[in-house]
Symmetry: C3
Subunit: 346 residues, 3 copies
Amino acid sequence: MQITAKNIAQLIDGVVVGDPSAPISGPSKIEDGQPGTITFLANPKYKEYIYTTKASVVLVSSDFTPEKEINATLIKVENVYACLAILMEKFNSSLSIKSEIASTAVIDPTAIIKENVAIDDFVIIKPHVKIGQNTKIFGQVFIGDRVEIGQDVIIYPGVKIYHNCKIGDRCIIHANTVIGSDGFGFAKDDQGNFKKIPQTGNVVLENDVEIGSNTVIDRASMGSTIIKEGAKLDNLIQIAHNVTVGKNTAIAAQTGVAGSTTIGNECLIGGQVGMAGHISIADGALIQAQSGLASSIKEVNSKLYGSPAIEYQTYLKSYAYFKKLPEIVHQLRLIQSQIDNLKSNQ
Amino acid sequence: MQITAKNIAQLIDGVVVGDPSAPISGPSKIEDGQPGTITFLANPKYKEYIYTTKASVVLVSSDFTPEKEINATLIKVENVYACLAILMEKFNSSLSIKSEIASTAVIDPTAIIKENVAIDDFVIIKPHVKIGQNTKIFGQVFIGDRVEIGQDVIIYPGVKIYHNCKIGDRCIIHANTVIGSDGFGFAKDDQGNFKKIPQTGNVVLENDVEIGSNTVIDRASMGSTIIKEGAKLDNLIQIAHNVTVGKNTAIAAQTGVAGSTTIGNECLIGGQVGMAGHISIADGALIQAQSGLASSIKEVNSKLYGSPAIEYQTYLKSYAYFKKLPEIVHQLRLIQSQIDNLKSNQ
Amino acid sequence: MQITAKNIAQLIDGVVVGDPSAPISGPSKIEDGQPGTITFLANPKYKEYIYTTKASVVLVSSDFTPEKEINATLIKVENVYACLAILMEKFNSSLSIKSEIASTAVIDPTAIIKENVAIDDFVIIKPHVKIGQNTKIFGQVFIGDRVEIGQDVIIYPGVKIYHNCKIGDRCIIHANTVIGSDGFGFAKDDQGNFKKIPQTGNVVLENDVEIGSNTVIDRASMGSTIIKEGAKLDNLIQIAHNVTVGKNTAIAAQTGVAGSTTIGNECLIGGQVGMAGHISIADGALIQAQSGLASSIKEVNSKLYGSPAIEYQTYLKSYAYFKKLPEIVHQLRLIQSQIDNLKSNQ
């Protein structure tokens, strides 16, 4: 694919500043951009690179004003990231499988599979499964009894989906993720041994949900564990039984959410965050990485940090003094000796 | 399955308060209970729902006394969770495979497989493996050389068990968990490069152990990594080489235990806890989520929190003052100025 | 295999103190050593065991001087761990597959596979893959389009490698690890919905890299996510898009590194550490387990702890006072009352 700066600008409704005929064969990063590629400037941290990058074209925000000369051609747009997404899709050469059913797949005859579905080698599809049109299922995936999968879904290699779970349209699930394993529920019997509490519910992923690799979403003990429309979960995340993750909420890698907790819509949860069970987090919460949430957050758009998490700025201020604790204690001793002096002088 | 409140009460030795003929077709959660279902009240947080739930029957503790009118029929029992476990099993419709060996499984002829074993599609069983009766092995599982698996075991899809490991009777291992991969052991050679220390031991799961999804238990460098009888491990847990987890100990998701550490019996370990290597934790320890254990815990039934972890209440008290550090420092300044005043007045 | 202390000493250039004909059939741990085995003393914590161990032979440092009588034969060497590694390899009986291609593997005819490669059952190899000589690929592995794998590589069961990734010579990748899944990149569109930013780059593992089980290394959005020569990553680690991990750096389990961060050479990163995105860590850093790195580390050989991480000793000192905060606040009150006294006495 060989296109020009002008072609790109038309595609994303941008304004060219420089050579509209600059040729572009693919994307690159601004700090190691190559001639013939397009790059972008979105994070101000990378501003300096725009003056030295070898990339031929740079996507910038419409309010960007250069402070010195720039060799590259610029394309100015309203939303750099959104335009970048459109561009990258142009250059994307993703993992692909043919829209056919591999002869090695083992598919129960009661499964209902719509047109144009791709099923790769060594996939197992159990009885009464339903799969919508244009869905792609990569190799070595396991789909349990009565699972329902929507249309235009992509399920990457090695994913395991337990019985009765439901996957909405346009969902993407990355490799080796597990959907619908048993929640962690036990009761001690009279002899003090754990007895398993059967987990009879399921997992529901609504439309446009994306889940990373090696993540686990446990089935509800009763009812459903629900990941709502448009939510995005990164790799190695733990979602316990009966959790609800709100619409358009994004959760970074290695975060864990304990049982029956409800996370609101439009939240941004950092990596390695832990949330206690049976709490609820109001819409728009911004949780700093490694925080621990022990109780419910009632105010919308809260910004939190720490374990247990408190208001973000309060944590930073307290932590600044935490680092000075040896000094503070030293001061305390000085004060006491001054008092002792004053006393003896009285 | 259609049974009545009276049937249920007989099954779990409970006392009916209300309509003994109330019909029950399945379980539900108290906050979204449906007519014709049975629910339960165990966590006091949910007490309010008992007055509004639409569920026909509610399982309650024998010491429960209603504060206002309740529409549902009650069944009073000694231990709500234990009775619930019995009930849920009644309603359980789990992932199932036939007690036969799939034609696509690749099983070495030297493997010894007892009667009534189910082996699903694309399972690999290496030489000299032994599998006890009634055990179920789901699709795409890998069982390495000389692995021994007991009876009535369930191994969910995609589990990988390396050579020489031993799995006791009635164990359950959830999807994509790895048992017996190499411990993380390296020594620097003269050129400063890491040289791998071979990991020649194995992993032993004793009877009645349950392991969640995407968990990893590494083989011992020498000897065995041991998970003792009745221990329960959640999802995404890291157990390093030569660790021992005690009898009936439960570990929540995303906790990591470094090499050669020994955890006692009957411990409850929260999620995202980290434990240093070469330490030992006395029986009955209660470790709060996200704690970090840097040294051994010698006292039984210790309750700990923090990183490094300290006594639970002490951590909470100290953390309460941590949040007030800016205020404390401000007070310190006020005190100093008072002293300065006193001095100048002397 | 039956060899003597003398044979072993010759192999590792050690000096025998005791019976050179002591027979050795395998390795054991010093605290539960059995007659006829060889064990070692490297960690001083275990020193006491050398006087009671039943092992026939103990590997010790050349500067070790016994404080009382020892029954075992000693072999004195310069570097105990390095010699142990050589010995363990002698006794190692690892997971093995034949150097042949299983009839059940599905290999695209365009793949180029060199001599003496082992490919186990149910492996999927997509178009234009290249695999070097002597490489072993265990069962149920997925190798995406155009992946290049070096020679003498071991890929354990269930590993999934997405398209275009590159694996160097002598790399080892443990079970169910995912290499090259999409980085976590989304931009909000005008309706406030997340739009996926295509991840067009790849992952490069240089030579002699070892990766644990259930770890995830995401592909770069553009360019490469790079794990440099000799680096060792443990289980359940998250490496985000465009990260670089330096040469001979070791990372313990459950650590997560956010996007575009660069870790230097020869760093030792503890378990459950979190690193923010777009930062860089200088060579030789020593990061304590559970730390959180929020900003770049510029000084080489830094030792850090805490979240956000600060200098190691400073953290320990501050934490020592953190534990005494209730006491410090009490002292503050006493001081105030003394001042009040002084004031009223003036």
